[in-house]
Subunit: 365 residues, 2 copies
């Protein structure tokens, strides 16, 4: 209950001004040319009185809080939970504390969090923006505080951004399925205007096109965030009832995969016997599945590290102010059981109709 000791207490104890104490305890005894004698006395007194600086006072005075506001889209998703954890770790190493918030994919929550964080005087923002918040972000940038978008971004909005090569890696994943002999490859994704999700779709389409594979519209399954499970079920049942059996699927996120795998289970479809499966993101469920899932690892550590580093550089003004930075990280395709090519499949006729990319022009044109 004892009153916390302040700079003033130490100053009185040693018999010196608060200025000296401040210099010494902030390691500025050299610049301020404090005598060795006083340095010792002050340090000793600080320890004796168990001094802990009041960072609130410091923040007010210096106009910086050493605080970063992080807004993720859904903290109950392990992807964002991991991201938050890593951001916190890196930020702490650099002496920053992180204020967390989850917008839960809601515009109004995002707006609310921004206001809370501004009131709390965070020095900078790291945001996984929600659909429809482009203007919020633009306005936020106008405060002059660094804003780094992570994972998600807006193609039309110049901004600091850290993300993966969504389109390329999706393409690579689908190509992997095709080269494994799959032809009727479905995509389960979100119906959204979020660019990173649509880039994944674009990569899927590009791969299918490259190999001359027609895509039945029903194979492109796009669902809303709300009411996910029944929607997924419905779309997947329709797709799996098609005459041409679905033999491969790309899940655009881990949540979709978990919902989708459930349907696959219920239908008694075997992985990878009947269908090859690849998903974005990671999940303990993927590891534990009887056929551990082939997945696209976003390198969460790297995303977090780059975002924090960028923020830190901005705060130190090491980057030209009016020039935004985009960092694109290479995601990795981790191939495991769920997309394993079974020998029988490789050898039977099911891939005979596959058009090799080299031949496509002639065949199609």
């Amino acid at each position: 209950m004892a009153k916390k000791t302040s700079l003033k207490d130490i100053a009185q104890y040693v018999g010196v001004s608060t200025a000296l104490v401040s210099y010494v305890l902030n390691g500025k005894e050299k610049q301020a040319r404090v005598s060795q004698q006083k340095v010792l006395e002050i340090r000793q007194a600080a320890k004796l009185l168990d001094y802990q600086p009041n960072l609130i006072a410091k923040s007010l005075r210096k106009g910086q809080t050493k605080t970063i506001g992080l807004i993720v889209a859904d903290i109950s998703n392990p992807f964002f939970a991991d991201l938050a954890k890593k951001v916190e770790e890196f930020a702490r190493e650099l002496g920053y504390i992180v204020l967390f918030g989850s917008s839960d994919e809601q515009e109004y929550k995002s707006s609310y969090l921004i206001d809370v964080f501004l009131s709390r005087q965070v020095d900078a923002f790291i945001v996984c923006p929600v659909s429809g918040t482009e203007n919020q972000i633009k306005k936020l940038q106008q405060t002059g505080k660094p804003v780094v978008l992570v994972d998600r971004y807006f193609p039309g909005l110049p901004a600091d951004s850290v993300r993966i090569n969504n389109r390329e890696i999706a393409m690579r994943a689908v190509e992997h399925l095709i080269l494994g002999g799959r032809r009727n490859i479905a995509l389960l994704s979100y119906q959204t205007d979020l660019a990173h999700i649509n880039q994944r779709k674009s990569g899927y389409l590009k791969a299918m096109e490259k190999y001359g594979l027609a895509v039945n519209p029903e194979l492109i399954m796009e669902v809303n965030y709300a009411n996910l499970v029944p929607k997924v079920e419905q779309k997947m049942l329709a797709a799996f009832n098609l005459q041409d059996k679905v033999d491969g699927i790309l899940f655009a996120t881990n949540s979709l995969a978990i919902a989708g795998l459930r349907v696959i289970e219920n239908l008694g479809i075997k992985v990878p016997g009947d269908i090859s499966v690849v998903s974005f993101d990671q999940s303990e469920v993927f590891d534990f599945y009887y056929a551990p899932l082939t997945y696209i690892a976003q390198g969460i550590q790297s995303l977090a590290e780059n975002a924090v580093l960028l923020v830190s550089k901005r705060l130190k003004e090491q980057i030209h102010a009016r020039q935004y930075m985009t960092t694109i990280l290479d995601a990795k395709l981790i191939i495991r059981e769920s997309s394993k090519i079974e020998t029988s499949l490789q050898l039977n006729g099911s891939i005979s109709g596959l058009i090799q990319p080299e031949l496509r022009a002639e065949k199609i044109g």
Copy 2:
């Protein structure tokens, strides 16, 4: 980039003192008897100038930050991640912001986080304490700030605490297995001095005793946090090699369950055919397992809610200062596939040797 507007700016704009502005914007116009005219003008100016209060300044002046420091033991465990999320939600509803930290089961990190949070002038603490930090907590209490222990606690330390009835629910879970016809029931737990974990063991033992079931020491498997997976493997292989086949198991946490299920899979043991499984906590893996796991739901929402509520009451001094509160919540046993009693098992002789509790005295004594 425009300088943020302060109370002073509004005061100047309206032509009034900052005192009036402060009263009005804090809803104290009645107490301060500000004229209706000025109230209107000030409100209007605040909106016009897009005023956002500087909570840092407010905190410094009022000596309270409306901030709660939350220290969890391991944020990568979904149990704690969920807990953190819920704490944040409830705290926000009451106008508090939450500073998070994960001690990762390390004493020094816990100590470090406490110092960081104290420097940041949090108003109160909610802590899942790590083994060996009893003195840290005691010292923290002496600052006079509310400290609420959640999930974990120290039997010897008077403190505000919110937790579940670990012993009783463990007992109930094991009883459930026994009544399902299981006799050789193993426990996979941690080797630790944490009371809540040992209470779970105690409940297990109590149930076994109640039904007169002898417990082979090898069935009580206790492992360290470090190097979890190989340790679990080793202990479980030993237990499952015993002559009397293990036919039931209680996992003391979700992490242990995930490691343990892996071994069960590798051994080709069928759930619940060969073995009934119950685990503490929840996990997506439990839901997705071919035999969804019977589990002990801690009621994370309720834990979080009670912890935040207790903190809030303390801060409002609604509770007698020198009297600590312990809230024990009832956990629930959610029975699913993994402990389903198969008819054949119920009917065959394997439970014939089971001593009914009512008969125990005679049979044993």
